[in-house]
C-alpha cells in the first residue's frame, strides 16, 4: 500500500536517508528499528510530508498514487497519520478543536465529542487533558496517548508511530499497545522504535533495521529479539 522506491532525503545538504526501497503491505505491522541518528524519524517525516524533509530523489506511492509532491494535509486526507515522537504543546488549542477542524463536515460535533470522550476513557486519558491546551503540561505517556486518541478518531489507513515508547511508563505503554492491537484491522502500522519494549506487547509482521540512513536488514519478529539481546552492531556484523 505504501511503496518507496530509491528514496533519498536530504536535510540541508546532508543526505540522511539513502536509497531506501521497500513496500509496506496493507494490514501489516512493521517495526522500524535502528540506533540513534540512523534515519528513522526522517523516514517518518518524509512519508508524512514535512516540508524540510522533501524527497531528493525517488518515488513515494500510496495505493499506487505518487504523493511525493503532496502537502501534509493532503496526505493526511489520503489516510496517512503520523504520531509524533515529541508532540508539541499548543497553547489554547484543544485536541477536540484539532479533530473538529481536521474532520470538517465529516462528523457532527456532538457525535465527535462523544467519540472523543469514549476513546479517551478506553485509553485511560485524564479527562482534564481533553479540554486543556493540547499536550500542555502532559507527561510523556499522556502525550503519546493523545496522539493515539487522534489516530483512533481520524481513522487513517497508515499509522506511523515515531518512538511511541520513549518517555512512556510501562502502564501507558501497555494501554497503547493493547489499544493498537485492538484497532489494527485493515490498517498498516509502522512502529518506529529504538528499543524493543513495545514489541513485547505488539507483534510485528516484519522488522526493518536502519543503519546510517540505509535499510540494512529485513526480518521477522525474531530479529527484534536478537537485537535486544546482542545489540545492533553484533546482529549486523
Amino acid at each position: 500500500m505504501l511503496q518507496l522506491k530509491k528514496v533519498s532525503v536530504k536535510v540541508g545538504k546532508k543526505e540522511i536517508l539513502k536509497d531506501f526501497n521497500f513496500e509496506f503491505e496493507k494490514g501489516k505491522v512493521y517495526a522500524v528499528m535502528g540506533p540513534n541518528g540512523s534515519g528513522k524519524s526522517t523516514l517518518a517525516y518524509a512519508i508524512a510530508g514535512h516540508p524540510a524533509y522533501k524527497l531528493d530523489v525517488g518515488s513515494l506511492k500510496l495505493d499506487g498514487k505518487e504523493i511525493r509532491d503532496k502537502k501534509p494535509e493532503e496526505r493526511a486526507k489520503m489516510g496517512i497519520f503520523l504520531s509524533f515522537q515529541n508532540p508539541l504543546s499548543l497553547s489554547g488549542v484543544t485536541v477536540f478543536q484539532l479533530l473538529r477542524i481536521a474532520l470538517g463536515k465529516k462528523k457532527d460535533p456532538l457525535e465527535l465529542k462523544n467519540e472523543v470522550e469514549t476513546t479517551a476513557r478506553r485509553l485511560k486519558i485524564n479527562p482534564e487533558l481533553i479540554s486543556r491546551s493540547l499536550n500542555d503540561g502532559a507527561s510523556g505517556g499522556e502525550k503519546k496517548k493523545l496522539e493515539m486518541l487522534q489516530a483512533a478518531i481520524l481513522d487513517p489507513k497508515l499509522v506511523i508511530f515515531d518512538e511511541i515508547d520513549t518517555g512512556v511508563d510501562v502502564d501507558a505503554l501497555k494501554t497503547i499497545a493493547e489499544f493498537m492491537d485492538g484497532n489494527k484491522k485493515g490498517k498498516t502500522f509502522i512502529v518506529i522504535t529504538h528499543y524493543n519494549r513495545i514489541l513485547h506487547y505488539i507483534k510485528p509482521d516484519k522488522v526493518l533495521v536502519l543503519m546510517e540512513g540505509k535499510l540494512v536488514k529485513v526480518g521477522g519478529a525474531k530479529l527484534a529479539e536478537e537485537i535486544e539481546k546482542k545489540g545492533y552492531e553484533k546482529v549486523m556484523s
Binding site: P51, A76, L82, L88, L90, S91, V93, A102, Q150
Partner: protein, 464 residues
C-alpha cells in the same frame, strides 16, 4: 494577489447611500468649532471649552514617537455631519437606510438576546437609542454624550475633560474641540448593572473624522460593563477616528470597558482612554484591536485610592499595511495599589505591532504590585513586532514582575497540525486563536466568537 481580509471586506465593507441634513465644510477653523457648538445648542462653557481646545490643537505638534502619522491631512476632513434631524426612540422610527446598515451588522438581532440598552452611533449623531426599563428604574443614565450634556449639565461639567484635559495630547485637543456623540453613562451608588451596556459605532462618510466622546461615572460600590464594538465600510481615502474616553471609578466601584476595534484598513485610530480608580476600586480595560491602518491607543488607569486595582488585557492584530501601536499605562499614586497588563500581539503579511507600556510608581505608593506580560507572535519574515516597556519606580517595597516573549509561528507547529489533515490557513487560525485565548476568555461570548471568526478570516485571506 489577494486582499488580506477579502471575505471580511465582502461581508462588512459596504456603504449605504447617505442622506445628511447637514455637513460642515472641509477643514477646521474657529468658525467650524463655533458652528458645531451652535448646531448642538450647547451652553457657553462648552463652546469656550471647544475653542480653547482648538487653540491648543493648533499649537501642539504631532507626536514624534509611535506610528507614522504624516499622511493625516486635517484640512481634507469634515468635522461635523448630522445625518438626520432628530433622535428617535424606537427601531421603527429609524430611516430605512440606517436600519439596513444596522441590520447588516446585526444590532437588533443582538439586542433581542443580550443587550440592556443600545446606543448606536451613526456618524456623529446618535440616532437610535433604546434604554431598558430596568436601567431607568435603577437610576442608571445611559445616553449619547450630546443628550447627556443637555439633560445632566452639572454632572457633565463636574467631570468632562478633567481626567483627559485638552492639553494632554494633540488628538485629545482635537477631540475636545470637535467632539460629537459618544456615550454618557452614570451609575448611582451601589447599583450593579447586570447586562453589559453596548454601543455600536460606524463611520459612513468618506473623509469624515469621527470624534466621539465618552464619559462613564460609577459612584461608590457601583458596577458596569461597557462594550464598544466597531465595524466600518471600506474607503479609498484616509479617515480619522479620534475618541476620548474618561472613566471615573469611585470607592469600591468596578468598571470594565471592552473594545472590539475593527475599523477598515484606511482608518487612523488615535484614541485617548483613561480611568481614575479611587479607594479599592477596580478598573478593567479589555482592548482588542484588529482593524484600522494605524492605531495608537494606551488605555490607562490612574490608581488614586489605596487598594485600587487596574487591569489592561489587550489583543492587537496587524496585517498588511497595518501598524498597531498599542499598550497600557498604569500610574500608582496610592499605597497597596495593584496593576496587571497582559498584551498579546500578532503580526502577519508585513504588519507591525508595537507594545508600548508605562508603569509608574509614585513616591508613597508602597506595597504596590505590578504584573506585566507581553507576548508577540510573528507569522512571517515580513512582519515585525517591537516592545517598549517603560517603568518608573520611585518607591521601595513594591513588587514588579515583567515577562515578555516573542514567538515566531514555527514550521514545526504548523506541520504538527497539517499532518493531522488541517490546511495551513486553518492551522494558523487555530494557533493564533490559541495564542490570544487567555484574553478572549474575558470577552463576552458573542464578541469572542466574532473575534475568533475574524482571526480565521484574516488567516484564510493570506497569500500562499
Amino acid at each position: 494577489m489577494q486582499q488580506s481580509n477579502l471575505d471580511f471586506e465582502y461581508k462588512f465593507g459596504f456603504s449605504m447611500p447617505q442622506k445628511y441634513t447637514f455637513k460642515s465644510k472641509k477643514g477646521l477653523d474657529e468658525g467650524v468649532v463655533k458652528m458645531i457648538s451652535q448646531m448642538k445648542k450647547e451652553p457657553v462653557w462648552m463652546t469656550e471649552f471647544r475653542l480653547k481646545a482648538y487653540g491648543i490643537f493648533k499649537k501642539k505638534p504631532m507626536p514624534d514617537w509611535g506610528a507614522d502619522l504624516s499622511k493625516i491631512n486635517f484640512d481634507s476632513m469634515y468635522y461635523y455631519i448630522k445625518p438626520t434631524d432628530k433622535q428617535v426612540n424606537s427601531w421603527e422610527d429609524l430611516p430605512a437606510e440606517i436600519k439596513n446598515t444596522y441590520d447588516r451588522i446585526g444590532v437588533p438581532e443582538a439586542e433581542k438576546k443580550f443587550l440592556a440598552g443600545v446606543s448606536a452611533q451613526y456618524e456623529s449623531e446618535v440616532v437610535y437609542e433604546s434604554i431598558n426599563k430596568e436601567l431607568n428604574k435603577q437610576g442608571v443614565l445611559f445616553c449619547d454624550m450630546d443628550t447627556g450634556l443637555k439633560k445632566y449639565p452639572h454632572l457633565v461639567k463636574k467631570y468632562f475633560g478633567t481626567l483627559i484635559p485638552p492639553h494632554d495630547n494633540k488628538f485629545a485637543a482635537l477631540n475636545s474641540a470637535t467632539w460629537s456623540g459618544g456615550s454618557f453613562v452614570y451609575i448611582p451608588k451601589g447599583v450593579k448593572v447586570k447586562m453589559p451596556l453596548q454601543a455600536y459605532f460606524r463611520i459612513n462618510a468618506e473623509r469624515f473624522g469621527q470624534f466621539e466622546r465618552t464619559l462613564i461615572i460609577a459612584e461608590e460600590g457601583a458596577y458596569v460593563h461597557y462594550i464598544e464594538g466597531c465595524t466600518a465600510p471600506i474607503y479609498t481615502t484616509q479617515s480619522l477616528h479620534s475618541a476620548v474616553v474618561e472613566i471615573f471609578v469611585h470607592k469600591n466601584a468596578r468598571v470594565r470597558y471592552t473594545t472590539v476595534q475593527n475599523w477598515s484598513n484606511n482608518v487612523y485610530n488615535l484614541v485617548t482612554k483613561r480611568a481614575r480608580a479611587d479607594e479599592n476600586a477596580i478598573m478593567e480595560w479589555v482592548d482588542c484591536n484588529i482593524g484600522s491602518k494605524v492605531t495608537m491607543k494606551y488605555p490607562s488607569v490612574y490608581l488614586y485610592g489605596e487598594g485600587a486595582r487596574g487591569e489592561v488585557l489587550s489583543i492587537a492584530y496587524a496585517g498588511k499595511n497595518q501598524h498597531q501601536d498599542a499598550g497600557a499605562k498604569m500610574l500608582h499614586f496610592a499605597p497597596r495599589t495593584s496593576s496587571r497588563i497582559i498584551s498579546k500581539s500578532i503580526s502577519k503579511a508585513g504588519g507591525r505591532t508595537s507594545y508600548r507600556g508605562l508603569v509608574q510608581i509614585m513616591p508613597g505608593a508602597k506595597k504596590s504590585s505590578v504584573y506585566v506580560s507581553c507576548d508577540a507572535l510573528i507569522l512571517d519574515e515580513k512582519s515585525r513586532s517591537d516592545t517598549y516597556p517603560y517603568m518608573k519606580i520611585k518607591q521601595n517595597d513594591v513588587s514588579i514582575q515583567h515577562e515578555a516573549t516573542v514567538e515566531k509561528l514555527g514550521e514545526e507547529k504548523l506541520f504538527y497540525l497539517t499532518s493531522k489533515g488541517i490546511s495551513k490557513s486553518d492551522a494558523e487560525g487555530l494557533l493564533v486563536n490559541g495564542f490570544i485565548d487567555p484574553v478572549v476568555k474575558e470577552i463576552p461570548l458573542e464578541y469572542s466568537i466574532e473575534l475568533n471568526r475574524l482571526i480565521n478570516l484574516e488567516m484564510s485571506g493570506s497569500v500562499g
